[in-house]
């Protein structure tokens, strides 16, 4: 059954702050095999004008995707997560994520489409720091494939 269009525009409460740890950034950079010193060496980061080590461009997804669980698990929306695949992902940065940031995510449903029995859901995650400044917006497109025989 197609998802209810009236959920478009619905916004969920901001998450509790996620504190970005420098060892977590290091672990992520090592996991993707990226030896850029700006992820691990404070002096190298400062040489590029950053106040602390920064995170790779896709690091923040772990935080925004966890936050989007509010939408995915909203019983009123009724998304069948067992049929969901990740369709698109996009980030628009005001500034890079850096170690020590305490980030909150506000998720909202931007669009809901139904195409050939598939439900397509665009979730926008607005990420702000402790001072309330915008850091990054993440758009996550989830596609719930049509159930067999539906």
């Amino acid at each position: 059954m197609a998802l209810d269009q009236s959920f478009v525009g619905r916004s969920y409460p901001p998450t509790d702050p996620y504190e970005v740890g420098r060892e977590k950034i290091r672990e992520f950079a090592e996991a993707v095999g990226d030896a850029n010193p700006v992820y691990t060496d404070t002096e190298a980061a400062k040489a590029l004008g950053h106040s602390n080590v920064i995170a790779p461009p896709t690091f923040v997804f772990a935080i925004t995707f966890k936050a989007s669980g509010q939408v995915i698990e909203d019983p009123q929306l009724g998304l069948d997560y067992s049929r969901v695949v990740h369709g698109d992902q996009r980030f628009v940065y005001t500034r890079p994520v850096r170690a020590g940031d305490r980030l909150t995510v506000t998720s909202s449903i931007e669009t809901i489409k139904s195409l050939a029995g598939n439900d397509i859901l665009d979730i926008r995650g607005e990420v702000h720091d402790e001072a309330g400044e915008h850091v990054v917006t993440a758009w996550t497109k989830l596609v719930a494939r049509a159930a067999e025989g539906a």
Binding site: L48, G49, P57, T58, F65, Q89
Partner: protein, 142 residues
């Protein structure tokens, strides 16, 4: 934020140095831990086959993370990447052998934008098949 590349030194069509990124089952286990995405389709072959996949597949976000390295290595400062988006068109299948899979990434400047920014268009393939579509980054150059 200090990119190594100057806006004036690039043109539409300027190619970034291409790179190849190997991916094995061990890579995926490590990425699962670092990212917190423990979906068994990324490490459990039996589970992956049961849900209709040919084998274990790489996390789409892993492929996305590797592809942007062509841009961040070129720009010097990863903080110069101000926008980045991809479409996950096809999974990267990672067999349980000594070789695993390889993600090949090519990129070129697709457009020169205002304020010293350029749009970089990326092409990521594995086994000759495109694995990311509409893969674009906007980079703030010096």
């Amino acid at each position: 934020m200090t990119a190594k590349i100057s806006y004036d030194d690039v043109e539409v069509g300027t190619e970034l140095p291409a790179q190849s990124f190997p991916v094995t089952r061990a890579t995926l286990v490590r990425y699962a831990g670092a990212s917190g995405d423990f979906n068994p389709i990324h490490w459990n072959e039996k589970f992956a086959v049961e849900v209709g996949l040919p084998d274990v597949i790489a996390h789409g976000m892993f492929t996305m993370a590797e592809a942007i390295r062509v841009v961040t290595d070129w720009a010097g400062d990863p903080g110069a990447v101000v926008e980045y988006g991809v479409r996950f068109t096809r999974p990267v299948v990672v067999p349980n052998d000594d070789k695993g899979a390889v993600i090949e990434v090519a990129a070129k400047v697709g457009a020169k934008l205002d304020d010293g920014r350029v749009r970089v268009d990326l092409v990521a393939t594995s086994e000759g098949q495109k694995v990311l579509g509409m893969s674009r980054a906007v980079v703030q150059l010096a």
